[in-house]
């Protein structure tokens, strides 16, 4: 099936099988390996991308469901300069091994789009779908607070 995906602002026409999951199309067909596959069972959030601006787990979505939609991956989040969440992750030491980081950042950026000026609790709720196996949650939350304050 031929579908159109606008990924990080660029339109791609791709031939996919209906059973191809979005995460595989992004990683293996478009070469965007910033999006990780952790659990492959919609639990860990490391595959989080934005579809039409909203966070979603790309291991639990068929590419064909996204035909005609706009997708943003971690590669496309920076717009010239780093996104405020990316900036804050570096300054607050919010990553250790970095495996969960792309998904964490995409989940956090989506949360900040939806909730301006979030409380710590609202940030933690916004990251409920993301696991950090290095357990660095404390600094991750601090980074998102810093990004929220930066607007």
């Amino acid at each position: 099936m031929r579908i159109t995906l606008t990924v990080n602002g660029r339109a791609h026409e791709v031939d996919v099988e209906p059973r191809d999951l979005l995460v595989y199309v992004l990683r293996e067909r478009l070469g965007l390996t910033g999006t990780n596959i952790g659990c492959d069972t919609s639990t860990c959030g490391s595959c989080t991308v934005h579809v039409d601006g909203e966070s979603i787990k790309s291991c639990t979505l068929l590419a064909v469901q996204c035909d005609g939609r706009a997708i943003t991956t971690i590669e496309g989040l920076a717009n010239g300069a780093l996104h405020p969440v990316q900036e804050a992750f570096t300054s607050e030491h919010a990553l250790q091994c970095g495996f969960c980081t792309p998904g964490m950042i995409m989940a956090a950026a989506s949360r900040l789009n939806e909730v301006k000026d979030p409380t710590e609790e609202q940030i933690r709720e916004g990251l409920e779908g993301n696991l950090c196996r290095c357990t660095g949650y404390h600094n991750i939350v601090k980074a998102v607070q810093k990004a929220a304050a930066a607007g």
């Binding site: 209906p18 492959d40 989506s110 779908g129």
Partner: protein, 281 residues
Amino acid sequence: MIPAEFDYRVAGSVEEAIGLLSGNEDAKLIAGGHSLIPLMKTRLARPSMLIDVARVPGLTGVARDGGTLRIGAMTRWHDLERDPVLREHCPIVAEAAGQVGDPQVRHAGTIGGSVAHCDPASDIPAVLLALDAVIVAQGPGGTRRIAASECFEGFFQSALAHDEVLTAVEVPVLDGAGCAYVKFNQRAIDWAIVAVAAVVRHSGGTISEARIALTNMGTTPVRARAAEAAMAGASGDAIAAAAALADQGTDPPEDTFAGAEYRRNLARVLTLRAVERAMGA
């Protein structure tokens, strides 16, 4: 994990979806895909065709019609959680929607997909039972209205026929009654170990009517009839005594999270919490 092969069609209308279903015994509808795709990845489901109904026009949003709120079947949890009409007139639906999974899941999953899926641990069925909601389904012979009490037939088994498409869920405007959905789970994104939906009419601390439904206390959501009966006319300590009857007549499952006795205790404790919250405590 990659699902087995299947054909994929995008339905432009409910009628087209019904036509495709009627012609193929192993076809399945797909909405958000957040119950179905995990099953297909593990081969617990192996449909030969998926019919995408997520973008059929007219199946999303909440509209008020007199004393009824009509919720489009393909409305996502994320939109229900924030819907101003729902939050004002039937807040328990918005409250439960906000407790489903995590933000990513709520950006994908729909109320109709959840009702059709009939997972005993899913949140919205008990809420619909407590509300005496109506499920609207369209099939080759026309439209059918199914009472929530008739809809959740068994373990992952709804009353919908193979060639029926769920189009809407109707819930009452609750003005004058309090409500609450209290869910107990272990990790943030988990399904409920047990949860309780309560809709309570009361004045001056005395209950006139309580409708209580339990999540994950059996193969389907169940009304806590004994507790409901004892709540009528109750105030003060009598409310706690009534809540202690919440597990009567249930047959809770045993799993890695909890044994049956633990679930019974949760049902009693959470019922009291839900009723107290519904009364504004």
